[in-house]
Symmetry: D2
Subunit: 292 residues, 4 copies
């Protein structure tokens, strides 16, 4: 089939390649002319035959909103927009409504795979009407990993991004699990070679997983991670997962702890710990350390 | 080689079978005569030719202590005891010392594998002197999974149980991660079929793992886990992991949250939440629910 | 001064009384004719001389929105609306804008005090323009506790509710602190009479506080809180505090733990713990407890 | 009465003064001759008439053990030792047993009060046999705050330190509660003057407390705590509280979060966050920050 693909960054560029390897025609547009196949969104739309399917793969928020707005102007009734970016799930219904008012369909799709997706395939979670999903199914089939799994029609519009968001929330806590275990092993003097313990865990254990394999790769590059600073960014999905949990009255202690650990790591100094130090000084005369 | 194996329960029985499949001679002893190969520990020791290796696979604590005490009486200098149970790592040094005073070697070995170990192999983490580990290496090779990984000499005596303990701590948080994600998906109405989302995650995602595969199996048995009550036991390793972290000043927020979630699940009613309800009533006149 | 007061429930009714004791004229309106001074909002507005000040003390959300909408129709330029309910802080700017378009001023005011406020006074945190605050200052002075503290002009519109929201977040964690300590004392057998320990803490300790005094009162009513069930409701402020923290990248581990503990207490059974039990069963053959 | 007091540091020195103000005779010993009343422990014991009461106020652990050992040699049957330091509660039974074998009584006493104790009195929680407590009661009465509260016979030997330990655990979470609230108010731009909000909370609110008063004092010294670094030490009691909870299967999410926040604050860089950064880099090619 023919696909328009907007956004050819780290993710989009590799996805174009994988879809093409699947035998489909992809016309890509990016603001960066060096990677773009066409000069404008208008040209991209003009080059597709109807009913057109355009996959949006740009940063969530303003960039996605603007692209969807422009496509709403350029596309025709019966066409379809897929938002494959990291939009917040409750944006999807709004986008779907805006496009539906012009007769244009909408599918949201959460995409997991990172830099490994080109070779291994991308895990896909999508939401939308069955007939809309059917229009883009050949592309889903090209993108997904070989084998039985890796793609799911998760429900109505928004379900794809919601499922991907929860995936990322789970990912936060799994990463935190390995990180905590690693720090404890490094801190205690019981185990001689922590990296070899991690390596051994890759088979036969309850915790064998792709993230563990990656941890071993990371430790092979830098045994004690001395080259790194302990700063971990967070993206929207982790935050939204906790917010969705609060909306639903669901306790998420481990995922939230993982998010907060990242918040703390991003701070040069901890205001709340200044207050603790100040209080200890007030009631106990405990020495405090002055600001650098 | 020849191995004495004490304890033929769920774990020990399968391990005997796997070691035998590896071509070794195993003489097993269990208090239950139906599964035991010999009538007594004394007979077991008598049937082995020296230097003897006896693997202890009984419950941690008193049962292990008693078995090691008895073996200390029965074995001879140059023999070796392996503690493959779930002993606390700081018991190992004590056991090693007691045996060393009689010229008997000691190796501790954390074993992961559960009911799957017989077919897939057991992950092994062991600690002790190199010469002692060498004495039992053929058995380790028979027990471990096929392939490159799954066994590690983690360090001196105690290192094996320490590594296994941390493994279990990581396991707690990984299980909690999936459990939280599952509850959120079930609670929100965004996703139509939560089980299919879990199934799809098995390939191409960041969170693909053996535990995820098991979650899908569990959901295939009972889609919404309606047949279960939300009560999760905990074993010593989770508790010891947190204690080891406290000893080392290491923050373990996700692992500890996972342990506490299990504690809460084991309570018929929550005393601390009674106090919260009582306080709300005191200052706000908020209605409280009476005891059943 | 003259005040219109809308909402004469548990809070509003007592506040009317305290303001009157302060020498002011209060005309109260409530849908319940038994407590209302007037038959309608229209009558209330008609009975006030301009510039009118009307204090809204109704449930946050729809009821507050509707009351503000109606007052927007009934009041005149130069009049003032005070929202003393538990509105979310980011609703305030919207309400202020809607009223400002009609020349009507707006002040938001977080009120703390519960059933004790009538006698002890209400702590007040308010936000809005200085000239608007000045219009209602005499009422603030009547409501606040005797003494130096208990009232603050926290900033622009929304600041009052924001400050009150954070107050409640802090309150959640303080309550949780005492609740956890109490449960631990009750669970361990070290201390013979937990209530007397709590009682003794009321003077000379670092943790002496009004909440501790209330805890002692509660224990005097019911020494082991046997009459209660361990279920703790939560109101909007706790949830909003965590959401505001996430918006600002601020880690709130203790406050969030307190919120999640309440969520858990509200569940008949824990879905996430079902998943943990299911996974333990899958990999370890651990017995699980069937649903009741 | 007559009291021997061993340890005249920040706490002990002020306690000597307060007990003397209460009309009692205190003979103090400290290794520092500038503050000591006698040249040696031997001299101190010699100067007391029997039955002697000696209060030990030295650092927990080795120093306390050594002092108790020496007193065991120097004292006579019928004498009494009070451990007023921060010993771990399960040390008490051991100390009591050692002394009991020589006919010497033992009382453990947790003391709260810090630098304020001299003027305000010290909160006391003590454990031991009734007849032993009676021997030291006059000193307890002199040390405790004026008024009804502030002292409690918490139970048998160990109960005093256990109660004090839990007091400190509660203190950790209360401090954390205020610290989190303060950081959120400072981070968000809703509130203009955070210090004034804190000040106002001192009356009429649910969270009014001595710790809040201290927070206001600290902010009066340094409005944004710019002079401090966000590093908070922890003492044994916080750690032991969590360990006691684990022993009893009691979930302590807020207290433990408070302890872990302190652990994190003590780290120059976070090993676990290095692992998170490494994993993000592995799967997503996310940029990481190199070590300084």
């Amino acid at each position: 089939m023919e696909l328009g693909l907007v956004g050819l960054g780290k993710m989009g560029g590799n996805m174009r390649e994988r879809i093409r390897r699947g035998g489909h025609t992809v016309i890509g547009y990016d603001r960066n002319p060096e990677v773009s196949d066409v000069a404008s969104l208008e040209e991209l739309v003009g080059r597709l035959s109807g009913p057109r399917v355009v996959w949006v793969m740009v940063p969530a928020g303003e960039a996605t909103q603007q692209t969807i707005d422009e496509l709403g102007e350029l596309l025709s009734p019966g066409d379809l927009v897929v938002d494959g970016g990291n939009s917040r799930w409750n944006e999807d219904e709004k986008h779907a409504g805006e496009l539906a008012s012009k007769g244009i369909g909408f599918v949201d799709c959460g995409v997991s795979g990172g830099v490994w997706g080109l070779e291994n395939g991308y895990a896909l979670m999508y939401g939308g009407d069955t007939e809309h999903v059917a229009m883009v199914q050949p592309v889903f089939d090209a993108l997904k990993p070989e084998g039985t799994f890796g793609a799911v029609h998760a429900g109505k519009v928004g379900a794809g991004h919601f499922a991907k968001m929860v995936h990322n929330g789970v990912e936060y806590a799994m990463m935190q699990a390995f990180a905590e275990g690693w720090e404890l092993l490094e801190a205690a003097d019981a185990v001689t070679d922590v990296r070899e313990v991690f390596r051994s865990w890759q088979e036969g254990t309850v915790i064998r997983s792709w993230l563990l394999d990656l941890a071993v790769k990371a430790l092979d590059d830098d045994e004690h991670l001395d080259k790194l600073r302990g700063i971990a960014k967070d993206s929207g999905e982790g935050r939204w997962t906790v917010e969705a949990a609060i909306d639903n009255g669901v306790p998420l202690p481990a995922i939230t702890a993982s998010l907060f650990a990242r918040f703390s790591s991003q701070q040069e100094d901890s205001p709340q710990m200044k207050m603790i130090a100040a209080l200890r000084n007030q009631f106990g005369g405990h020495a405090v350390e002055g600001a650098k």
